[in-house]
């Protein structure tokens, strides 16, 4: 486990250094924006283009909601075009004073009360270096009791808090917006129990995903989710964002695999829902409220999760397709012909492939003889090595004969397999290295999904590089616009177009990353106003003072 930590730290360090230049760029650009623009609500900031652009093709009720949500409050522009998010500090919140620090020291002990500027700078900044808070205090409770005491106190003092796990979230949800106290769960990192027969793992929320994966590996089990950030992200963070990842097509969403949770509410009360049962229909299944609510309703402290057995035969193919329709047909057939052994179906376009080949060291194109428009990665997991391989080969050869696949390579050993995965998992890092990036994580009907990428390319022309990749098997597109630097003109071409297009096609503006700060005000693109109202009522019920992760997930006008 130490090794993994060291590796994760090394990666984090590299990322920190490599993004340094970029944050300089951002700062530089921000200086160019006159101060008045930053504060003037009627200027053409990205948040406002949304309301003034005619939304003619838009569903009527959503249009009203959008106008309403944008007009109600005065906006303060925090991060120029980079973050495109507009909020104002809620004056109902107190600020930390000397007595507060004495209290925290008393209940936690000095080493869990962090005021060191360097540590705070890291904790205030998100993975993309796009969102930055100015918190002066981070608390690292070691158990549920300590966390409960912290929240009880913060609630009575109206001190706002932001729950933080591995801080790999991609929507600005895991860092403070202003001076919220950071409550980091990293010290709550022990495995509580594991049942070999049922495969139920019970652990604390701060366990790092990769550590859980290696813990289970020794027992012959795997985690039902896997994602590129595994070396840093924590299971509590995964559940709070309802992370999807690379294996969802096989093992389903966390709403299915999480069997129980222990959470602490804003007033410090501990809610024990830590069941380990597959079936339990007694009353409302409230744990689901905390899966995907991004720390806005309570802080997860313990987790009980169903883990599948590790199967010995894993095969991976890296394929080339001429057009998007072939990718779709391939998915359709894979679901039928690979059935129970299909464990991942991922796609990337040639733009994504080029980025990875250019920006990551030691990556090699598995199919170098030609440039293809699309690449698909198929993984099978089963229990019979020779059967599974034969099934996959037969499927692929058939697909090739039918012209769905133009070329492909089949990994012959683990190192080839991991180099195929490295291409797919390396895309976010390659995009980071390429310059400024606007990230959109959308759920769309599979047949329409790539039309958006093409339309976006037409809109932006030579101004930016539009990249499409994602979890095709789940209908999840990661649309990324990569540009030399952050630019209001580019952003105005992307937003609100992306959100309107997605809403029109009955998609979701957040498939798996959540809303965080980035999209809190955009929720109406995917949810009706009645639904959002009900969400606000739930929030008010569980967190009447609104201290938990304020300004995130739902429009702040509804809760403050």
């Amino acid at each position: 486990m130490e090794n993994h930590k060291a590796a994760a730290a090394a990666v984090a360090y590299r990322l920190l250094n490599q993004t340094k230049h970029k944050s300089n760029k951002i700062l530089h650009q921000r200086r160019l924006i006159p101060n008045s623009t930053q504060l003037n609500p009627s200027s053409s900031t990205s948040g406002f283009t949304q309301a003034s652009v005619p939304l003619n093709q838009f569903v009527a009720s959503y249009r009203w909601d959008l106008r309403k949500s944008s007009l109600i409050h005065t906006h303060h522009r925090k991060f120029g075009s980079v973050a495109s998010t507009i909020v104002e500090r809620n004056p109902n919140f107190s600020t930390i004073n000397h007595d507060d620090l004495i209290y925290f020291d008393k209940i936690l002990g000095a080493k869990k009360v962090i005021q060191d500027p360097e540590e705070l700078q890291t904790a205030n900044t998100d993975w993309m270096h796009k969102y930055k808070g100015s918190s002066k205090l981070m608390l690292q409770p070691e158990n549920t009791t300590e966390l409960s005491q912290i929240l009880d106190y913060c609630n009575s003092r109206r001190l706002a808090v932001v729950p933080q796990g591995g801080n790999t979230g991609l929507v600005g949800g895991s860092v403070p917006v202003f001076d919220e106290i950071i409550i980091n769960t990293r010290r709550m990192n022990s495995v509580i129990s594991f049942d070999q027969v049922s495969g139920v793992l019970v652990c604390e929320a701060g366990c790092i995903l990769e550590n859980l994966i290696s813990f289970l590996d020794k027992k012959g089990f795997i985690m039902p989710l896997d994602l590129g950030a595994k070396g840093s992200c924590q299971i509590g963070g995964n559940i709070s964002t309802n992370a999807g990842g690379l294996r969802l097509v096989r093992y389903g969403s966390l709403h299915g695999t999480v069997l129980g949770l222990e959470v602490v509410l804003a007033n410090g009360s501990v809610i024990d829902m830590l069941g380990t049962l597959r079936k339990d229909n007694t009353g409302y299944d409230l744990k689901h409220l905390f899966i995907g609510s991004e720390g806005s309703l309570g802080i997860i402290t313990k987790v009980s999760i169903l883990t599948p057995p590790k199967l010995s035969s894993v095969n991976i193919a890296f394929l080339a397709c001429e057009d998007y329709i072939s990718c779709q047909k391939l998915l359709f057939q894979a679901k039928r012909r690979l059935g129970e052994i299909l464990s991942a179906f991922e796609f990337l376009d040639s733009q994504a492939m080029n980025l990875v080949l250019h920006h990551l060291d030691g990556v090699r194109n598995p199919l170098p003889s030609s440039i293809y428009n699309f690449y698909v990665l198929i993984e099978t997991t089963g229990s019979n090595e020779s059967n599974d391989k034969a099934t996959l080969e037969a499927f692929l050869l058939h697909a090739m004969e039918n012209g769905l696949v133009s070329d492909g390579a089949l990994a012959q050993d683990f190192s080839q397999a991991s180099s195929f995965w490295h291409i797919r998992e390396g895309i976010p890092e390659a995009l980071q290295k390429a310059g400024a990036v606007y990230k959109y994580d959308l759920s769309l009907p599979v047949e329409k999904m790539y039309d958006l990428v093409e339309e976006m390319r037409t809109r932006l022309g030579a101004a930016a590089n539009v990249v499409g990749y994602g979890h095709l098997g789940d209908g999840n597109l990661h649309l990324n616009v990569s540009a030399r630097q952050y630019d209001d003109a580019i952003l105005a071409q992307i937003e609100p177009f992306v959100y309107e297009w997605t809403s029109q096609h009955r998609g979701s503006i957040s498939a798996e990353h959540g809303l965080g700060l980035m999209k809190a005000e955009k929720i109406y693109y995917s949810k009706s106003s009645e639904t959002v109202q009900l969400m606000a009522s739930v929030k008010k019920l569980l967190d009447p003072n609104g201290i938990l992760n304020p300004y995130k997930v739902i429009p702040s006008s509804l809760v403050s």
């Binding site: 193919a317 890296f318 394929l319 199919l367 090595e385 050869l397 683990f414």
Partner: protein, 251 residues
């Protein structure tokens, strides 16, 4: 000119090795097996020679139990023209393999025999040298670059030695063993996997090749290296000095 390439089936490079409980060897049941990485490099080099017109045919050979056929199929999918599988029990020592290779060379008469410098399971690094001795052929081991001159029937081999490169010129036929930096092996592509299905794999027995299994080696015991003891964190320099003096006895 034909090129013969020796291929070994080994526990996958990425698998964590476990010792059998009776200490007779390494656990291989239900473990992912793959082509030895140095053999992949050997095969890649042979394929490149064929593509550049130096060689006319690449023959992949492997000896061991039936499953070696899977590894040979991978070799065929990478581009070898045909394969020979010598059916033998799983534990073969370098000298036996060298004798089998010599017998196969006498049947096929290749101009070049290429092997990996060692297999990642037993790390012996002996087979290439032994077969060169048995055949009385020149040898270029640990090759990091190979250039074949068809007209002169010679190969120039750069080898990585301590402190630099040594360049040898060998008359063909010769034995070459490959080092890690020689090349980067290709992937098995679907069209080639499809073609490989119809390529022949000839099966031969030890008796046909007139080699017996007798070995002068006996494995007494296989054990895992001792587990490294966890370190301790000391709280002061004084404590460190004390430990160095009284526990480690080094100062």
């Amino acid at each position: 000119m034909k090129i013969m390439v020796a291929i070994k089936r080994v526990v996958d490079y990425a698998v964590k090795i476990r010792i059998k409980s009776d200490k007779t060897g390494v656990e291989t049941t239900n473990v992912k097996m793959s082509m030895n990485p140095f053999c992949e490099i050997a095969l890649e080099e042979a394929l490149r020679m064929k593509e550049s017109g130096v060689a006319s045919e690449v023959i992949a050979v492997s000896m061991g139990p039936t499953q070696c056929v899977d590894t040979l199929r991978t070799g065929l999918a990478m581009g070898a023209d045909r394969a020979i599988h010598v059916d033998a029990p799983s534990t073969l020592y370098p000298l036996t393999v060298a004798k089998l290779l010599k017998a196969l060379v006498q049947v096929e008469k290749p101009g070049l025999l290429i092997l990996g410098k060692q297999a990642i399971d037993d790390d012996c690094n002996q087979t290439g040298q032994m077969v060169a001795g048995l055949l009385n052929w020149p040898q270029g081991t640990f090759a990091s670059k190979v250039v074949v001159d068809k007209e002169k029937k010679a190969a120039t081999v750069d080898r990585e030695v301590d402190g630099g490169l040594e360049t040898l010129c060998l008359d063909l036929p010769a034995v070459i063993t490959t080092d890690l930096r020689l090349n980067q092996p290709r992937y098995a592509t679907l069209p080639n996997i499809m073609k490989a299905k119809s390529k022949p794999i000839k099966k031969m027995s030890l008796a046909e090749l007139n080699v017996d299994l007798r070995s002068d080696l006996e494995v007494v015991q296989v054990t895992a290296p001792p587990v490294r003891k966890a370190g301790v964190i000391l709280s002061s320099v004084d404590e460190l000095v004390d430990k160095l003096k009284n526990e480690a006895h080094v100062i």
